[in-house]
Symmetry: D2
Subunit: 355 residues, 4 copies
């Protein structure tokens, strides 16, 4: 991040994190440290945490401990949202699915809400926004006015969808997509905390993640219209962070590894032009992995601060008339959660959706 | 195993293990313990081990230690194969690929060789035999007489192919196969010992296994003719034993989960009739996993002594006009290596190929 | 186990498992399969499970699935204990600590209770019984009559104490013990299920287990009087089953590796004479590990069905005038829980404490 | 690191890395990136690598890939050491033990050698230097002139010794040390690459590391004279980086947790005064862990860039008349290897030993 990215920023926007004490909320706290445009001014959590200082309300799950400037901030109850809304420019929501719909709605009545929760993802007037893939879907936001909201809700996609959507975007644009078959090898952090029991995953693979496959299919076709023939098998493996996905795409037009890589280069260029000035945008949206046995989660997940989608093992197999196969890696708690939503907020701010 | 399976066996067949000191050789030693038809009479290994007793020549990789009755057997040099051949009924070969072609050929000049090595797999007169799938390919053995051999070589398939071939057999027979897309999550023991460095796989996935994907494709189409449209991505995960594979098959005819399961039941019945009396045959060739999140390597790999292929997550996705998707688990060092070859030897013996 | 061990057994004793649906309860279910003297006739659990058949009430945590003959047994409410007590010969309790004191007391009012719970461990009239170490403490049981109980409660020790007590017994008897310094590297299954979160232990060690060190000290001195100078550091490592402990003992008299090993041989002999006929007694109580880098949990934890304490790395360091150092391994969910308690029940039965 | 630490540095010292392509050598490459005083000008390796550019000679084991400014540097043969010595100010040696004695001697004939190898550690005229602990031992260097060397050799300690020595230093200075009993839970990276096989450590502990215990004892008493009663058990656990050690010290004088912590604070202050200006010195030499279950390798190993020794679980047990017990964590490939040696070089440079 660089302060010079936006010399025009006079005063940082006030950000509230809703659901601030959980793992996902902590990732927003971490991701907003030193942000050139945004500053955390409010932390909201459930009744149980309200009134405590943050370092006492939240057991810190990251390395080290609670960022110093947030550690002593008093956590507010979500009951106080309406009272505080006037002093807040953006709500970042890391709420669990049970409470997200109600509370995000209450926030959106006043201000923009950027969310990692699924509550509104499948509503017709709500875009699932990944700036590099479907920035134009931001137009949907206006329809949300009809709900009587002054603000709006923009959720990000599921952490398994985001890397897939990014990798498929240049395929769709250049070769067309007939069908996609994907197997994910997902990291433990995707299940939250405490999440997966150690006894369940030591020396093991769990070949099923509840509702994950349905989410991937439903979200992908909403983000990249036309991708309606999708097979997905989602598994959990013994990795802390970083979702690996093996992907085979049947394309409309011939696609070679070379032409796919060229398409990626073009896509990256376009992304850099359009989103490069955003503080959280990765240098390259898609990084072509170097080495026949890459990407690997431990080695590649932090590429460009965990915001890049790393793609390797690019090859064409003789399984379809036209196709391309590859393996991708996407950091599920960075690109796939808080950092991805921060990028979305940066984009919406620059486009004027957030005042 | 049950002694009563074959009351007619008067005298056990003398078995030699070639490459007896390595991990794969040890699995033959373990797998033949208490076998009702076969008994180990010879252990062959390289010059380095020859002349030592087995317990000193081989660092034991299994639980516990060297089986008591083999521990003090003197290891012979492979130079002595010709001299000893007259006293041997079957050679079980666990040789590394570098030496397998030459040494197995020298054994086959005299006697049957059942092998885990790939050296002869792709020769035209050599079947890759999985009894339940392509027992009829055993006829090819006769052609090997033209090499001037009194014996023959019958290799098993790669440990990643065997479970896939077994699971696809009832699909092919009942619904026809157009194309197959498979991702494997393979166990560490598949790489032998020392194999994968701990620093490479801790908190990681390695999305590439050298030559594995080519082997799967080449072997599958030889074992099940017609399966020539195959996409395969082979990965290594943090699991000790048991290869998991996610599979999507486009079928010629409509295939529902119910009709697939019925086909499996029929297949199991046929296998039981044909191979049931063989001591190493699993009770059910394919076990339908119980539970939405199964099969799992740690929980299911030892089903029927590691000889069953466990299949779960059976479903039809809307990705092809006709298709079936599932996850399978096969024990790579049991069904996929020594125990699988012992079953093949049992079959060939009952069919009269081994005298 | 062998049926011939006790030809005099006419009718198996009726056993009730209290807390039957949890992990510890399941280990009793597993451990009693095929037992020559004992048979499971009652399963008790909380209100939530009562009335369901076992396979529906308990998610099975072992390999495979619920033992066939227990799978369809109806789980009873602990409210029914008094009603059923007349038909029960032994209660095996696997209750969580919160409820153990009350419910075990209600059981003991009628019949013997053998327990893995800590509730009564530290009461003056209650022995913490490890037959090979302090069989004579069984006499304490008579004092429990003063509670007005027809039965009694005999708990086993904590899973970290049992292997330590066994390994120290021949040291105490032959060399005297001045002080003990122990570090444990404990398995995940010791924390129950779901227990340790995978995100907490992947690529990690947790150097603290709540109350564990206090328990070890308090129990050890009760089981082996005189061991009051004990230092203990209990850690959690990335191992599924099997607690490893590094131990240095300052002895009263000189102790060499040779004399320690001779003491172990003598101890084993005495144990075999005294406890050999018990179905669950290990062949050797202490197994001297073979190999400079043993015992190792994965390789050695199942020695003698997980009932042996495996001791290796025996050496004298120049840290005390007289001392012996070693590493021990004890299976925490077998010897350290259900199987250990079953052995205790066998002993008490043979001694006439259980009618 | 901060450039301002030493405003007087006009020209950076030329550093050669000997054994530059191995894992330990790569850690020097990584550790010297952006160093304010030192710059890498020479890379030496064996014949096999000589003549290649670094990125082709060395498979990179760190995150990301070879540092850009080193990637294309041509690796020299160790045969060229004498020819190049005039252009080199410091040799950093990461040689394997087999070759270290000969090659380091050839380097020392001309220039200072700071080494991670054990080759010279136990020679009488060679200090094992840990600046914060035994800076005064640097005086020994002068004796090395008697070897006819213009330079000298200063090795660091074994990676298991360094954290222990640091933690014991304030104990010795304030309370006196009678005896020490230590158990280490060591990381996989301590065994180099490929090092420990994944099949050996998955779901396992290896309770023995060849020669490690002897090294710890021999080195500790050389670094902190008087620590001759030491018991050590060294084990390997499933952790990538960071050695955990449980320590019990019998002290001469009474030592409470409070007085120990006060001693640490005093020690840190002294270290800061003496070594604070060195670029690689940690902010605090010993960090007192925050939380009852710390230090933990994954959470704490990178404290102060992996240069701090993190100490927690401080308590007095009733096992000795006077004693203190604690758990320490030290990053084995940072403080315990390259970064530790770089700190030593910085110290020797400031003291005028390196010109």
């Amino acid at each position: 991040m660089s302060d010079t990215a936006s010399p025009a920023i006079k005063k940082k926007l006030s950000c509230a994190i809703v659901g601030a004490t959980g793992v996902a909320g902590q990732q927003f706290v971490e991701g907003l440290q030193g942000h050139p445009w945004f500053t955390i001014t409010h932390l909201f959590a459930s009744e149980r945490s309200a009134g405590k200082v943050y370092k006492e309300a939240a057991v810190w799950h990251g390395e080290g401990s609670h960022p110093a400037d947030i550690a002593d901030m008093v956590v507010l109850s979500t009951d106080d949202i309406e009272r505080e809304a006037a002093n807040i420019d953006i709500f970042f929501s890391a709420l669990p699915s049970e409470t997200a719909r109600e509370i995000e709605g209450r926030c959106a009545a006043f201000k923009p809400v950027i969310s990692t929760a699924a509550a509104y993802r499948y509503d017709d007037d709500v875009p699932i926004l990944i700036p590099e893939v479907n920035a134009d879907h931001a137009l949907l936001i206006r329809k949300q006015k009809e709900r009587g909201w002054k603000g709006f809700v923009v959720p990000g996609s599921n952490c398994t969808t985001v890397g897939l959507a990014i990798a498929l975007k240049p395929v769709m644009d250049n070769f067309g997509i007939k069908r996609v078959i994907m197997t994910s090898l997902q990291a433990l952090s995707g299940a939250g905390y405490p999440g997966v029991a150690s006894m369940d995953i030591l020396d093991n693979v769990i070949p099923y993640i509840g509702k994950e496959e349905e989410k991937v299919k439903k979200e992908l076709v909403k983000i990249i219209p036309g991708t309606y023939l999708v097979g997905a098998t989602c598994t959990r493996v013994h990795v802390r962070d970083g979702h690996t996905e093996t992907v085979t795409v049947e394309t409309e037009k011939p696609c070679t590894p070379e032409s796919f890589m060229a398409a990626v280069v073009g896509f990256n260029k376009k992304c850099r032009e359009q989103f490069g000035p955003l503080p959280s945008a990765p240098n390259e949206t898609i990084v072509l992995a170097d080495g026949v046995n890459r990407p690997q989660p431990r080695l590649d997940r932090n590429t460009h601060n965990g915001m890049a989608t790393v793609v390797g093992r690019i090859r064409t197999e003789d399984v379809f008339p036209n196709s391309i196969s590859f393996v991708l890696l996407s950091h599920n708690t960075k690109r796939g959660a808080a950092l991805g939503e921060i990028l979305t907020a940066e984009y919406l701010y620059k486009q004027g959706y957030i005042a």
